[in-house]
Symmetry: C2
Subunit: 336 residues, 2 copies
DNA sequence: CTTGACTCCCAAAACGTTTTGGAGAATCTT
DNA sequence: AAGATTCTCCAAAACGTTTTGGGAGTCAAG
């Protein structure tokens, strides 16, 4: 309700002094500072955000683009991550705005609008593709950004990612060690880096074991996509005895496919993401997860450091993948 | 990269004229307007958002507070709703910022910060409580807002809500008509309006049928909460033969409890929210959903109308609930 | 008594828009 | 041909901050 001018007048001080008192500068006496603070508290003064942003040449905003097109926005716990990120950004005076992509526009258009209108200080990119035009654009503009997932960009950029290659390779090798020989992979759309990375991990393990890599089916990264892909693999003359799925949602879809075919309940399966829901499926879903606490906080920290000008090379986090063993991976290798 | 002054200089025009040309005012000749537009396009001019906001006295921002404390943020499809809302707000030049509640602060503190710093033009409140302090605060400040869910506020305020009372009453009566007599309710935390409303619907139906209302257990609105609440009801000497669950997530938790007890697979169950996941549980989960297309767009529209000054009474939407029948509600009434 | 250092304060200039209130020229009216 | 009207355009004033570049005092040292 009050602005600096009114507050200054009521105190018989100049705008300058009041402003500096509230910002804790040393060139205003302790007594005055206290007097100003009290008065500000009493009238509930808050600096007008727009004015400050204009003067400081900072938007105090970070945008996250939400892909809307294909199937989905991301795993269900994605909002938790955003929430954690927003919380930590807020501690540094930044707010997080969500920027969905309207139909008819590309993700690039959105980036352009936010960047060229100087509406943001940085951007957070999720669901990166192997070749991601948003990354190229932001690099060319020199705007700080962090991605959730790597890309194949030649220039390094800040990211946080899980080591899907190692995780899926390990999961596949574990099935092999348990005696499985026909290990299938249910893959996500290969233009996404995470899907490609996980698929590569599975394929590498299969090749190391001298196994054929034809038991692979691709689908949308949703329950339905996993369901359809699983049905496709189960129709093969020589069915898989174990399935490694790109995401938990796909694995949950595949689980339904397994229930619908004879002997399907003898097939092992493992997902990735550790959705809470996985503990409540039938059978409880074995899965993998990226290690590390509070992903959102990590994103916030990287964003702040990127805004602070740290070089991209120091802002890259590749997290190990750990197993979350429940029941679905323990089926006998011989059955199917 | 360019501002109005530079653009004006390069065209030999005044700032005023350039500004008005781009805004399409009639007092600049068509020829000039076109010339200005071309030049602006060429240099990729976008008005500086902070400056415009300061001058226009509008934040061009709407905040949505995300409860972080208790269990969860909301149903998994919640982000889709936010995304839809943000998309439609963007068409009106507004961006949506997410405002999670840091620990140690209350949701009220967040509202205060956004409102008193004039950082937002309106707010979106989710997970309303029966007595919601945020609502009272915003009403006292006269800031436009819309809630997802009703409250018991004496003053009317804009909201969108599903008619949980009618939906849960109908679901309970349907079980009764199918011969069930011991119909249990798995309730969410009763301080939330939606949980209270749904519980009331179940209770009303039970009383209409002359049945006791003691088969009710409360839990956190998550899988785990539903699981524990279901176990509690199943321990009763006279077990329910059907369960009406406040949310799908709770129902999915309850489904696991049913698998763990003898004869549990004979018990009918229905949830609410129509999570995509429900089609992939075992058995596929029967559920309910709020009618209406694109909830996010409705929120955006209500927010814009609220900002436009329409009275609260005209900004209230109560949507009917419809059944989504899959398998889980069709178990025989006599079994358990 | 001067000099310099230090303390506390302030006027004024940004930041980049939008909007107000005309001004000058051209066109129309009578 | 004088006055009224319409077209185009513009200078200047906001909007509410932060920051720059001092300006008075006061005090201690020279």
């Amino acid at each position: 309700m009050a602005n600096l001018k009114q507050l200054a007048q009521s105190l018989g001080l100049s705008i300058t002094t009041v402003s500096r008192a509230l910002d804790g500068y040393a060139d205003v006496s302790a007594a005055t500072r206290e007097r100003v603070r009290e008065a500000a508290d009493k009238v509930g003064y808050r600096p007008n955000a727009s004015a400050r942003r204009l003067r400081r040449q900072r938007a105090e905003l970070v945008a996250v683009t939400l892909p809307s097109d294909p199937g989905h926005i991301g795993p269900p716990h994605f909002l938790d991550m955003l929430s954690g990120c927003a919380e930590h950004l807020a501690a540094a005076g930044l707010n997080l705005v969500i920027a969905p992509v309207p139909r008819g526009e590309s993700e690039l258009d959105i980036c352009r609008r936010f960047v060229d209108g100087r509406r943001v200080d940085a951007m957070l990119l999720v669901r990166t593709k192997r070749k991601d035009e948003r990354v190229e654009f932001l690099q060319s503009r020199g705007i700080p950004f962090v991605t959730n997932g790597r890309t194949e960009s030649l220039l390094p950029h800040p990211y946080i990612d899980g080591d899907g290659f190692a995780g899926f390779r390990a999961a596949t090798l574990r099935f092999h060690a348990a005696g499985h020989r026909r290990i299938g992979h249910i893959a996500g759309p290969q233009e996404y880096y995470f899907a490609y990375d996980r698929c590569r991990g599975w394929r590498a393990a299969m090749e190391e074991c001298g196994l054929a890599t034809d038991l692979c089916a691709e689908g949308a990264p949703l329950e339905q996509g996993g369901y359809l892909a699983a049905l496709e693999l189960l129709r093969q003359p020589s069915r898989p005895t174990a399935l490694v799925c790109a995401t938990d949602e796909m694995a949950i879809g595949a689980l339904r496919a397994l229930r619908e075919v004879d002997g399907g309940n003898q097939i092992s399966i493992v997902g990735h993401d550790d959705l809470p829901m996985g503990a409540f499926t039938s059978p409880p879903l074995s899965t993998m997860r990226m290690t590390g606490e509070n992903l959102g906080a990590s994103f916030a920290s990287l964003l702040l450091r990127a805004i602070g000008g740290e070089p991209a090379e120091e802002l890259q986090e590749l997290h190990a993948i750990e197993f979350v063993d429940r029941d679905s991976h323990r089926r006998p290798a011989k059955a199917a």
